[in-house]
Subunit: 136 residues, 4 copies
Amino acid sequence: MTHTTRIKVRGYHLDLYSHVNNARYLEFLEEARWSFFEDRGNLPRFMATGLALVVVNINIDYRYPATMGDELAIETTVKSVGSRSGVIHQRVTLAGRDTVVAEADVTFVVFDGKANKAIVIEGETRELLETMQNAN
Amino acid sequence: MTHTTRIKVRGYHLDLYSHVNNARYLEFLEEARWSFFEDRGNLPRFMATGLALVVVNINIDYRYPATMGDELAIETTVKSVGSRSGVIHQRVTLAGRDTVVAEADVTFVVFDGKANKAIVIEGETRELLETMQNAN
Amino acid sequence: MTHTTRIKVRGYHLDLYSHVNNARYLEFLEEARWSFFEDRGNLPRFMATGLALVVVNINIDYRYPATMGDELAIETTVKSVGSRSGVIHQRVTLAGRDTVVAEADVTFVVFDGKANKAIVIEGETRELLETMQNAN
Amino acid sequence: MTHTTRIKVRGYHLDLYSHVNNARYLEFLEEARWSFFEDRGNLPRFMATGLALVVVNINIDYRYPATMGDELAIETTVKSVGSRSGVIHQRVTLAGRDTVVAEADVTFVVFDGKANKAIVIEGETRELLETMQNAN
């Protein structure tokens, strides 16, 4: 089953036009990714490795303006895992409906804090990401 | 001359890794766009029309992790104006240096609040955007 | 039973010192207040009245620095209801523990959007607030 | 002369009621405090000491709802310096006018990161804070 995070739209999420502000969606997506890694990916173990997933690109479509009281469902999946980078796909809908609110590809690299550089995605990290990819 | 907005990185802009959080960059870009329209585009007049530029896609590369005390320079330009949508390009560098911190294409449509739909970019709005495009 | 909202601390909630930033706590408190009014206070009905609770003072103690992965429990209660203003008390602890992270009194007035002024707290609004006060 | 920071209210600062959200004011105040320490207080030297000013209480009055396009002037002063804590006073007005938008007392302690505890405010830190207090 696809991992889903639910977020209720509150007054402080809105902006000038009474719609969820476009920067706020990136916080919603980050919330959903942390939850995804926590539920599916052994987050404590990964964080203990000293490696980090560092976002290098976000490509987000804003399709429908969510507003006060809307309940959002954010589906998060691993779309692909290459040798140098991977892509997480995230899709925000109105909960229980087909309306797509936003959709994003989030490209990341695996960063080694000690070596201070991005590294090849292999070994245990690759296994973890592939397991998460196949879990849907 | 390319329009430039300067932002100093503060403690509250950072996140877990002591770098500017990726959602926060979208606020920096929005700040720069408001400033750009204010300085180059007769913002009050545009807002009085009841039209709004609504962002439909942001494609952002994160290239270099900005941190506490960095001064960022955000260049904002109109990249293209089509009949249905336009693209604003924004480039964040460390002020006074060549280091590119982030770079984004922001695609927008012109939304008519009364008609509640996106409209063809023509007339005064097109002129405004083209003037801004050629100002660089 | 005291109304409780749970929030997990994520990477984007932190700041320079890897602790939850003090502005972010105000978003956590607002989240908890919306949830409180939704669960205990017939929020849709109240919002339909055209009245709004407008915050006029927040007095917040920061007691313990919450950090990555902490789960916060936010208790929200109506502390007092006067004729011109009321006070909501909110207490943030580490979930399942006694550690108090933050504690705040939030003073509000009831604002009538049509009349564009704060009004005396009486009638249905007073009843609602008093019911919420006694629910603990 | 009292230290003043100017911030223009933008679309992403607003919330449900098209006013600046109350959490956002705390970011404005933090921005002004960083700027104050930078301009008046030798911030790099202070940060190099390994000490940090940690906020333990904020008491903020919201007096006037700022909205889109308003220019805010934030005055920041050191109000008092005790042996265990100090108070910074911050006052937000509409720039060039008398309208007070918000007013806050921010109480801080001096925290020693190595010893992991708040310390007595003395020596160079006290001098710095007293110089800043008397600069107005």
